[in-house]
Amino acid sequence: MSAVPIRSRLWRAFHQLGSPPYVYRLAGRLAPWLGTMSCVLLAVGAFWGLVLAPPDYLQGDSFRIIYIHVPSAYLSMGGYVLMAVAAAIGYIWRMKLAHGVAVCVAPLGAWFTALALITGGIWGKPTWGTYWEWGDARLMFELLLLFLFIGYMVLRMSFDERDKADRVSALLAVVGVVNVPIIHYSVEWWTTLHQGPTLIREGGPSITMDMLIPLLIMLAGFSLFFGWLLCKRLQGEILRRESRTRWVRNLAAEAAA
Amino acid sequence: MLTVTSLEVWRGESCLLRDLSFELLPGQTALITGPNGSGKTSLLRVLAGLALPFAGRTQWCGTKVHRLAPETRSEIAYLGHRDGLKNELTAEGNLQFTRDFWNGRDEIDRILDELRLKPFRRREVRRLSAGQRRRLALGCLRLKPARLWLLDEPLTNLDDKGVGVMQTWLQHHTGAGGLAAVSTHQPGRLTGSLAIEL
């Protein structure tokens, strides 16, 4: 084992990740862990954030929606990057499985984007006095991110050969990735209602500890939840893509027996 | 020098070709025949590098066709069911463009003459008849400095004279060391040294 040079071990791992049965089983084994972990973290984080953490000196209790808003906003962006990277890998190395991942991420990302928009809107009412502000760059670009997710799915659906749909829409996903940094820096480039960076910024997070810790817990919980959903969807997608292969038919036979 | 090794071509859910291997040498013509829907067009597109095979290889002088560098790629000329002409340009304009883009032979006049398209040289392509268009497409093919011709039913819509011209050109081409793979439903009207039945 130790004799194997690191390069070739990495290569083998990469190779294994291209093998549908392996990934199918991997996802099946990971899913329960991710599911339970995310449940626990979400419960802890929610209790801490909603009950234990003190009310904000400015916003009172309305700030508590941060525990949903921020994780879903992060995941919407992270989801897009994940989708784009998977699609790029699929395109460059002709790896069908990577396309499968991108396909599974798209609707999840779209839902989390929608959640970020909705929770942001709800939060906006008490703090900014409006649900939605046309012309606020962060808000607009987050909306455009939703359109990009939808565009990716629409483009896929307009092709009826899966292979072609994979490869063409992968290019769109890659091009659209420019939106992500724009969303992140929009609050610095334009004067916006939306507040500046709080967590990822030079000089560390600017938020008190007793608000930060539950936020981090919720962030982890949401991410694991995302991972759990992804594993579930990926399993289905793999079965659909590989329905003509022997191992899937064997699997079906086992399940029937 | 076109080498095809255990090629397997799928279209949608169905496998069209399995384990097809052959080698085409300079001076040879392969006649591809088969009933409608047997995969002639699909095969030619794979040979041209326009589509990827499911398995197997198609190599031109040792390189996979879809990996060819642009300069070598121009040694292969493909003519499909569609003519690939611009409707808005004149017959001559189409030939000129082909010549400039492919850096081809300077024989436009002679070709128009052989195809009997001289009187129509300044007519827009969309005002040509179906057969005249097909002739023009063959003229474009002839201008290209290609060594391998991939032709998908080149005789469609041609009259007897047109077929005659095509026969002469094909002989000429292979006689000068060229290669050709031609699909057709009228194998009697073309001569080939290699028969591929699908």
């Binding site: - | 590098g49 326009l50 990827l52 493909y78």
Partner: protein
């Protein structure tokens, strides 16, 4: 290389001029949108001035999207695209030449026309150089984006409309910087900031865009 570029450029320009209507219409489209708008909105001067820049930019964007919709479709349908793919030149170069040809018949006249419209929206005369500069830097990016959209949808029948969905989200930054520059110009303030950003976007898209577009065309027609 250079002569192949010029050869495609000449072909596409000639095709565009053969259909002169194709040449004139994005422009007239632009004029009509921009002139119908004040008709629909109340034509009061102060308000027109403040929305003028936005309307100008929206209609520039839409007319360039429309003009580029058919960039590859015609070639794909008559089989010419296959010939270009198999030709002796890198497809990215061919695509770039096509985009340049299209830009010079759709973008350039827009640059000429925009100041006239701007004046009719009561923008001050001093703002015109800024406006034209911003348009000159923005339209190449818009053209490249539209070309990407056209390539992605070339094998779809519904291309014309789906392009909007795919590409409009990407045009957001151009639109924002563009109107920002126009507004600054109207106020007489320095507008180098947004212009630099527009230039950066143009460089980025003109260098990367053709490669992506070529990949998309090739894949879509596979």
């Amino acid at each position: 290389m250079a002569d192949i570029f010029i050869c495609i450029l000449k072909r596409d320009l000639r095709l565009a001029f053969r259909r002169w209507s194709e040449l004139a219409t994005p422009l007239i489209f632009f004029v009509i949108i921009a002139s119908l708008f004040p008709l629909a909105a109340s034509p009061d001067e102060a308000q027109l001035r403040s929305t003028g820049a936005a309307v100008l930019w929206m209609s520039a964007l839409l007319s360039s999207l429309l003009a580029l919709d058919g960039l590859f479709r015609a070639d794909a349908e008559d089989g010419s695209m296959e010939q270009l793919i198999l030709g002796p030149a890198p497809l990215g170069l061919v695509v770039l030449a096509k985009i340049v040809a299209h830009w010079s018949v759709s973008g350039v006249p827009l640059l000429v026309l925009a100041p006239v419209l701007a004046l009719s929206f009561y923008l001050p005369l001093t703002a015109l150089p800024g406006l034209v500069a911003a348009l000159a830097l923005a339209t190449p990016t818009l053209s490249v984006l539209a070309a990407i959209g056209a390539a992605l949808t070339v094998s779809l029948r519904a291309g014309g409309t789906i392009i909007g969905l795919l590409i409009l989200p990407l045009t957001g930054p151009v639109l924002i910087f563009g109107t920002r520059a126009t507004e600054l110009a109207a106020l007489g303030e320095p507008l180098a900031g947004p212009l630099y950003l527009l230039a950066a976007l143009a460089v980025l898209s003109v260098s990367l865009g053709p490669v992506i577009t070529a990949a998309a065309v090739r894949t879509a027609l596979e």
